[in-house]
């Protein structure tokens, strides 16, 4: 039963991922990307990580993609459509893809891509959120803080960039009010 669902989700995810890069309309691409991300969220649930699934939907599908669409929607789709978009790079691209698949296949064959559950059995994983919270704030507190500091820097950086633009605009306009 679970395998059946896995194949359904995986198939839809792969198909929509291919469509993301192959359709010519940018808004359609974004739409397929949303479908792809939703399938990945479903796969997280199959992996007993409801928290990750919810966060995936919440942040990627719910917020990041909305911003994507916000930007893409105001593009002139008619112009983008007629442009050549593979740029005669398909030969190196196919080479890289084949190399990637070979590498992944090799890793799976060697068993490098699977990890044991460790101390977490099925029952412990039911309290998924608490487990993640505890590990994040004890074992991985340092990387966690580094990441939050990075985000803060990005936030301040964004504000500074906007402020600089605003000042210049005022200077260009002469003595603004």
């Amino acid at each position: 039963m679970e395998q059946l669902f896995f194949y359904i989700f995986a198939l839809v995810a792969v198909v929509s991922a291919v469509l993301v890069v192959s359709v010519r309309n940018a808004v359609h691409s974004a739409f397929y990307l949303i479908i792809c991300l939703l399938q990945v969220a479903a796969l997280f649930i199959l992996l007993r990580s409801p928290f990750l699934a919810a966060v995936q939907v919440f942040i990627y599908v719910g917020a990041v993609m909305v911003l994507f669409l916000f930007a893409v929607m105001v593009l002139d789709i008619g112009k983008e459509k007629t442009k050549e978009f593979i740029h005669s790079q398909w030969l190196p691209a196919v080479g890289v893809i084949i190399a990637l698949f070979v590498m992944i296949g090799y890793m799976i064959k060697r068993g490098k891509l699977s990890a044991s559950l460790g101390i977490y059995n099925e029952a412990a994983l039911a309290k998924n959120t608490e487990v993640i919270g505890k590990t994040l704030f004890t074992q991985y507190i340092f990387p966690f803080e580094v990441v939050s500091l990075l985000l803060l820097v990005a936030l301040i950086g964004a504000i500074v960039l906007v402020m600089k633009d605003k000042g210049r605009a005022r200077k260009n306009n002469g003595a603004g009010s």
């Binding site: 309309n25 808004v27 359609h28 739409f31 949303i34 409801p50 928290f51 699934a53 919810a54 966060v55 939907v57 919440f58 599908v61 719910g62 917020a63 993609m65 909305v66 911003l67 669409l69 916000f70 929607m73 105001v74 039911a126 309290k127 998924n128 959120t129």
Partner: protein, 344 residues
């Protein structure tokens, strides 16, 4: 292939029955709600509201439904046909999917098969996160529908909607975090159970932060479901009808359906997160079923949202952004600090 035993089969059947019942109720709900909304609008404006179709206009929603079904289904020339068709569904499905995680009452015993049944479809470990995530998806129907219509008004409606949703989802999430801090759980059933007892155990009365969280949540939700005073995406005064300007017939009806179901879900969430769910406000000696309290509170909040709609004017777009970014988010940051100190 293992043979499932009788209790597993029963469990699956029960879940299926519950899903069907909830879906049917949700499909039926917009009928009385449109009637109620127009009645409330009428009486607040010292009119009567619908009156002529059936006693007190009670059959008006059916007349509307027939009208919407018979209307020509127009797809504008040069519209994106695929997204234009799929957008109403994208708006509707998340609105319904939210109700998977919502508990309506305590477990009850079914008399015939003698089995305890829970009044929710799934009690998720991440219930509140799931609801926030799924209800955020309803926006795609609006954005893509607005873009696909190939109309200026619709496009601007969609753009406004996406900006509005991003701004207000942050404060809603903060309010949800506040509730999680007060109730020590992400599961909605646990959140309701933690508010049991009397009125004073409700999260709303956890002074001084409870009312603040509640206000943030309600304001944010009003913006999230595009109701007045935050209905900028369908601003009749400046945008025609906003994102659904080009829609007609059944597709338009699906947008309306989604909007009403979203309003119900927001009322339900307010009740669950802040007003004790199905817990009775005061200990009453009478054997009143918990679901009665739940429904009564939800009806009150549905009325409240309609009441607000016909009280407040619409905000300007810059005011909307100011409220979201400069008031709600700083206030929620400060409140989260206070809540944290209080819960140590």
């Amino acid at each position: 292939m293992m043979i499932p035993d009788i209790s597993t089969v029963l469990e699956v059947v029960l879940i299926a029955v519950k899903v069907v019942v909830v879906t049917m109720i949700l499909f039926g709900l917009p009928l009385p709600l449109t009637w109620l909304e127009r009645k409330v609008a009428g009486h607040i404006q010292v009119r009567l509201g619908p009156w002529r179709v059936g006693p007190h206009g009670l059959l008006q929603p059916f007349a509307d439904m027939i009208k919407l079904l018979m209307k020509e289904d127009i797809v504008p020339d040069r519209a994106d046909k695929f997204l234009f068709t799929i957008a109403p569904l994208l708006a509707m499905v998340p609105a319904f999917a939210v109700f998977v995680a919502i508990p309506f009452g305590e477990n009850i015993m079914l008399p015939v098969i003698n089995k305890e049944v829970s009044l929710y479809i799934a009690d998720m470990n991440v219930g509140i996160l799931y609801i926030l995530a799924i209800s955020g998806l309803g926006i795609y129907g609006i954005i893509l529908g607005g873009w696909a219509s190939n109309s200026k008004y619709s496009l601007i409606g969609g753009l406004r909607s996406s900006a509005q949703m991003i701004s207000y989802e942050i404060s809603i999430s903060f309010a949800a975090i506040g509730v999680v801090m007060l109730s020590n759980s992400l599961s909605l059933v646990e959140i309701v159970k933690s508010q049991g007892g009397s009125l004073l155990h409700w999260n709303f009365f956890y002074l001084p932060v409870g009312p603040v969280w509640c206000a943030i949540f309600i304001i944010g939700s009003l913006a999230e479901i595009n109701r007045i005073p935050f209905d900028l995406p369908e601003d009749e005064g400046t945008l025609g009808a906003g994102f659904h300007t080009e829609y007609s017939g059944m597709k338009f009806a699906l947008f309306m359906l989604a909007e009403y179901v979203a309003m119900v879900s927001v009322s339900v969430l307010t009740v669950i997160l802040f007003f004790g769910g199905w817990n009775s406000p005061l200990p009453v000696p009478l054997p009143i079923p918990p679901i009665f309290w739940f429904v009564a509170k939800v009806v009150f909040f549905i009325y409240f949202f309609m009441w607000v709609r016909f009280t407040l004017p619409r905000y300007r777009y810059d005011q909307l952004m100011t409220i979201g970014w400069k008031i709600l988010i700083p206030v929620s940051l400060v409140t989260i600090l206070i809540t944290g100190f209080m819960r140590i």
